[in-house]
């Protein structure tokens, strides 16, 4: 036990005390206690103490804040809110000597899996020679017969694999599972590293920590090298934002410079793959697939898939698109497969597995089944192919000893009829690592996910580190992902100085560019609507604020004229934000304001409802928005203070979002669509406001409200000292091109954007949306505040709507919906 004589701020003393107080069970094995050289752990704790002080709880919260900042979100399936995946402040420290063994084993395993997959979908010798029963292959839902005979472009079925390892009581590492279908977690590893690097800043220099960047660079090179064209366009194919690792996929796509695409963004024409972009169809050469392989192509696999790309497998067979990993490869993920890997390794490579599996017996073989039955109490019985089976409680793996008599009888009966559905596996006891619980270090069992990817030469590279999953339970197979789980960074360090990695390519090989390339139509659509919703919400909030008398105009006095209040209420009813005003007492005004601001019941189109839509669009635009914007979009609806306070808080949020998009978004086509959405919506809202408050019988109160809604009170006062005059207000709000809130200003920006966005033909003729914008510009330029009336404003409004439609038709995905052709009558 370290003494307390030293200053509490002495990080070394604090670290020693933490380590000394840590009570891991020695018998079980612990990654820190057993470390051959505890130096790495101690340095790490010193850094933790140096940055967070004495409180481990503070350290934990700091790490979590960093992780939240970086934007890790983990969606629990079926939940519409993204939940943060808690990050442990304490990384798993591994020395490079130990790591070298893991790396060697993972590479051997990846090569072995490739050999097996290539044989199963190729010559089929393993099954024909009796090394692997056919039923071990056909039992997997990921055995995809249409892939047979297809040699993947680039020559490999596997490009990216992950292996789950556990550390046993004596420090030996063993494989629990292989992931080739969608190796989730590389993005989390990346994010965890960023968060930990921020909290443990000094670690890098003191411990020779191996970096992540080279791995991702080589992964990218590996996929590029597999493609046919020299400068391929690569996409990360996501099932969409409801997928539980969408956040990770968006992060990876942004980090790797891949397009984040869904099936509907892509099309196969003449056996080539294309992405629908704002500049037309663009060739795609490779996909990192994160959708389920069976849903990838309705013409090759599940014909009911609505997220697939018809013809993709034909394009792959024609050699025109690389799909990583090849569909069907996941057949090797089945637990039943593990039973055969040791023998297959010996047979195919002449050596045993460097990283052994946990021992597995496939019950489809008589002798193995008999052994499982004999040793049932001490075994885990699990579904052989991951799919539910009849006789396991809840279909989950279970330790034999924990079965009730009735459950055991049911299992034994099904083992008679369908032994092929089961494997027996030895029970594993996981080593622990320290985590922070209630301010103290506590041991928790963990597993380690390691990632390997092919580099440009086709050789496997292993991410130094990875992703540790920490659970409450000692055996990871018995817990579902999600509840009660933490993740931790994994730091590989060693005596040899790590070369400072430069991701800067040599000058002569670098192709300079100033835009991020192709903007998929869907991304443009989302950014456009994000802009529209944000303006829509802000405009609605403006109405709510004037209803509550939040004018800076002294003329308006404490309360607005009754007729003006009625007009405001009408405007709120018109947009569907609230039911008609019941009376003019303050309580009724506040009630209406509250409904318009936060009601999500009865279908009121409130600020809150609009913000939800914006939030959803923010979630799907993660790869194109800054973390600050995402955070503001994700912020919960304010709950503190009265209605006016909340309105103020929302107003500041909108202002911050507008500022971020104006000042922090690169001037890309994506930004143009976002701003275009904002301009069109603001122009529409301004026209509406003028129609409500600026045309006939406009009182001083009406005009003051109009100035408030157009955020132009101050501009007006600077120009006119004489009080409010209708023509002057109209000119400022509608026609003054120097007023950034005026209609004319929006129309000018719209025309600019449409002139700058790509056109499809090079014939020099204006496209429809450009023609409509030109008409609008002319209407506004020739208008006169003295004669501007409802008719002209309604015409402008109609033109704006036509413009929005023309933009959608020209740039966005829309129109034809896929129908399923199915022709059958049955008798």
């Amino acid at each position: 036990m370290a003494t307390r004589t030293a200053s509490l701020f002495d990080a070394g003393v604090i670290a020693d005390r933490w380590i000394a107080d840590y009570g891991a069970e020695r018998t079980r094995g612990d990654a820190m206690v057993d470390a051959a050289d505890p130096h790495g752990w101690r340095v790490m704790f010193e850094e933790l103490a140096a940055s967070a002080g004495e409180s481990l709880t503070d350290a934990r919260e700091r790490a979590q804040r960093q992780a939240d900042d970086i934007g890790t979100g983990f969606r629990v399936a079926g939940d519409s809110d993204e939940r943060p995946w808690p990050l442990s402040p304490i990384p798993l420290m591994l020395e490079s000597a130990e790591w070298a063994g893991i790396r060697r084993g993972v590479i051997q395993r990846a090569d072995l899996l490739e050999t097996i997959v290539a044989d199963l979908y190729g010559p089929g010798r393993l099954v024909a020679q009796g090394l692997l029963p056919a039923a071990v292959v056909t039992g997997s839902p990921y055995f995809l017969r249409p892939m047979q005979g297809l040699v993947p472009p680039g020559g490999h079925h596997l490009n990216i694999v992950a292996v789950d390892l556990c550390r046993g009581p004596t420090g030996e590492w063993r494989v629990i599972a292989d992931h080739v279908r969608g190796p989730v977690g590389a993005g989390y590893a990346l994010e965890n590293r960023l968060a930990i690097a921020r909290t443990l800043g000094g670690l890098q220099a003191r411990l020779n920590v191996e970096r992540h960047a080279p791995f991702f660079a080589s992964l990218r090179e590996g996929l590029c090298a597999a493609c046919e064209r020299a400068e391929p366009r690569l996409g990360l194919l996501t099932p969409g934002r409801l997928n539980q690792s969408y956040a990770e996929q968006a992060h990876l796509a942004r980090y790797l410079g891949f397009l984040l695409v869904e099936g509907a963004d892509l099309a196969v024409i003449e056996d080539r793959l294309y992405v629908r972009t704002i500049a037309g169809l663009k060739r795609v050469d490779g996909l990192w697939r994160r959708t389920d392989p069976t849903l990838l192509d309705p013409l090759a696999f599940d014909s009911t898939s609505t997220i697939g790309i018809p013809g993709l497998i034909d394009a792959m067979a024609a050699g025109n698109v690389v799909v990583a990993n090849a569909p069907g490869a996941a057949v090797v993920e089945a637990p039943a497969f593990s039973a055969f890997l040791p023998a297959l390794s010996a047979r195919l490579t002449g050596e045993g597995l460097h990283l052994p599996n946990i021992a597995t017996w496939w019950c489809g073989q008589p002798a193995e089944a008999a052994q499982v039955v004999d040793e049932l109490p001490s075994m885990i019985v699990a579904p052989a192919f991951g799919a539910p089976t009849r006789a396991l409680p809840d279909g989950q793996p279970v330790v034999g000893a924990e079965l009730s008599n009735a459950q055991r009888a049911a299992l034994l009966a099904d083992l008679e009829a369908r032994p092929q559905d089961y494997v027996g596996q030895e029970v594993v006891h996981l080593s622990t690592l320290p985590v922070v619980v209630e301010g103290a270090l506590v041991p928790r069992p963990f597993t380690l996910r390691v990632f390997a990817a092919r580099d440009g030469a086709g050789a496997w590279r292993v991410l130094p580190g990875g992703f540790a999953r920490i659970g409450e339970h000692a055996d990871p197979r018995i817990t579902a992902i999600g509840e009660g789980e933490w993740s931790a960074d994994v730091i590989v360090h060693g005596p040899v100085a790590v070369e400072p990695v430069s991701l800067l390519p040599a000058v002569d090989s670098l192709h300079l560019r100033r835009n991020p390339g192709t903007l998929p139509s869907r991304a443009a659509d989302n950014l456009f609507w994000l802009g529209r919703y944000l303006e829509r919400g802000e405009a609605l909030l403006g109405l709510i604020r004037v209803l509550l008398g939040h004018s800076i105009s002294a003329d308006a006095g404490a309360a607005l004229d009754r007729a003006t209040v009625a007009r405001i209420a009408d405007a709120l009813v018109q947009v569907g934000a609230a039911p008609p005003l019941a009376g003019h007492r303050r309580a009724e005004l506040v009630g209406m304001a509250r409904t318009a601001m936060e009601s999500v019941e009865n279908g009121w189109y409130s600020v809150r409802a609009i913000n939800r839509q914006a939030r959803g669009l923010g979630a799907v635009s993660r790869d194109r928005l800054s973390a600050d914007m995402i955070r503001l979009l994700d912020a919960p609806h304010p709950t503190r203070g009265g209605v006016l306070d909340r309105a103020g808080s929302l107003q500041r949020r909108y202002a911050a979002l507008a500022g971020l998009s104006a000042e922090h978004m690169g001037r890309t086509d994506g930004w143009r669509f976002h701003d275009l959405g904002r301009r069109i919506e603001r122009a529409l809202k301004t026209v509406r406001a003028i129609l409500s408050f600026g045309i006939e019988a406009s009182s001083a109160d009406d005009l003051s409200v109009l100035l408030d809604l157009a955020d132009s009170q101050i501009s007006y006062r600077q120009r006119y000292l004489t009080g409010i005059a209708r023509i002057a207000v109209l000119d400022l709000v509608a026609l003054d091109p120097g007023n950034p809130r005026a209609l004319a200003f929006q129309v000018a920006r719209i025309a600019e954007h449409l002139a700058a966005l790509p056109v499809l033909k090079d014939d020099g003729l204006a496209e429809p949306q450009q023609r409509v914008a030109a008409e609008l510009s002319a209407m506004v330029a020739t208008a006169d505040a003295g004669t501007l009336g409802a008719e002209a404003l309604l015409a402008i409004e109609a033109r704006l709507m036509t413009l929005a439609e023309a933009v959608a038709r020209r740039y966005f995905l829309q129109g034809a919906e896929p129908l399923r052709a199915a022709g059958l009558t049955l008798a």
Binding site: A135, R145, T294, S303, A387, E416, R418, Q420, R820, L824
Partner: protein
């Protein structure tokens, strides 16, 4: 021996123009023990391109149809001339038992779509279902001969389920048809497959045609036949695949013509794919199985 002229016409009418279609057609019958295709013609109007598809999941002739021309109507006509010579199987005392066929299938070294190992497991449209397994189990004790057991089960399904075309649709899962105790050929085939597989018996979905006989004294109605579905049971190397029709409680014999074989409907759907359009579609199917003299 029977000779048939089979004409299967499917017409789609689209409310709005469609200008893009990619379909898999599995309409050309396969050659199979006991049946031979003498000649075959596929006609698609309007034109479009047809070519053999590169790969397939089951035992089927798959033709890929590519249509890039706008159309409001699509007609697919499949005409086959077949000979069928298939004796009715007779269960024998030395047939392999259910336990034996399961063990043989588990040890199979054949990964092809002919392998019993390919039909041992639940499939996408026929998931594991305990209730169906339990209902079928009394006929499927492990020491019973597999053919004897299969025909008993088929007969029980035929007896205890109602033939009711209004009860189910082509996408109705077996559990629902089982709960309703009614349906059509596919429902009965799926229920039987679910039960056979629960007992560890390799069993495949067969789709095709069944010659129907007119009521006594009435003429045969042209075009009134339908596509049919039944079950193939693997009965060991010597017997191979044997057909059983749970809709009628009979063996597959010379009235049955196999078009395709798979794990379930997903592998053998006569027509499926993607059509891009915005309106509704209307479908009309006519099937005629005409015996030739």
């Amino acid at each position: 021996m029977m000779r048939y002229a089979i004409r299967h016409v499917t017409r789609f009418d689209y409310a709005e123009t469609v200008d893009f279609a990619r379909c898999n057609l599995r309409l050309q019958p396969i050659d199979w023990p006991g049946q031979r295709v003498e000649d075959y013609t596929l006609n698609v109007t309007p034109g479009g391109r047809t070519a053999p598809a590169r790969a397939q999941a089951g035992l089927a002739h798959v033709t890929r149809l590519v249509l890039d021309r706008p159309t409001r109507e699509l007609t697919i006509e499949s005409v086959a001339h077949m000979t069928v010579e298939r004796p009715i199987p007779i269960p024998a005392a030395d047939d392999p038992t259910i336990a034996a066929v399961g063990a043989l299938a588990r040890a199979s070294r054949d990964l092809s779509p002919l392998s019993p190992a390919a039909y041992l497991y639940a499939s996408p449209r026929i998931p594991v279902n305990e209730d169906i397994g339990a209902w079928c189990a009394p006929d499927l004790s492990s020491e019973r001969g597999v053919l004897d057991a299969a025909i008993e089960l088929a007969r029980r399904i035929q007896r205890e389920f109602d033939f009711d075309p209004t009860a189910t649709l082509v996408d109705t899962p077996p559990a629902e048809a089982f709960a309703k105790k009614g349906g059509v050929c596919q429902d009965f085939a799926q229920i039987m497959l679910c039960g056979l597989r629960a007992a560890g018996i390799p069993a495949a979905y067969a789709s095709g045609y069944l010659r129907t006989l007119p009521p006594p004294g009435e003429p045969r109605l042209v075009g009134a036949d339908a596509t049919h579905a039944w079950v193939l049971v693997w009965a060991g190397e010597a017997r191979g695949w044997v057909g059983v029709d749970p809709t009628n409680g009979i063996w597959m014999a010379e009235d049955h013509v196999i078009v395709a074989i798979g794990r379930d409907y997903g592998d053998i759907a006569p027509i499926d794919g993607i059509v891009l359009g915005s309106g509704a579609q209307d479908m009309h199917v006519s099937v005629d199985v005409a015996p030739q003299d």
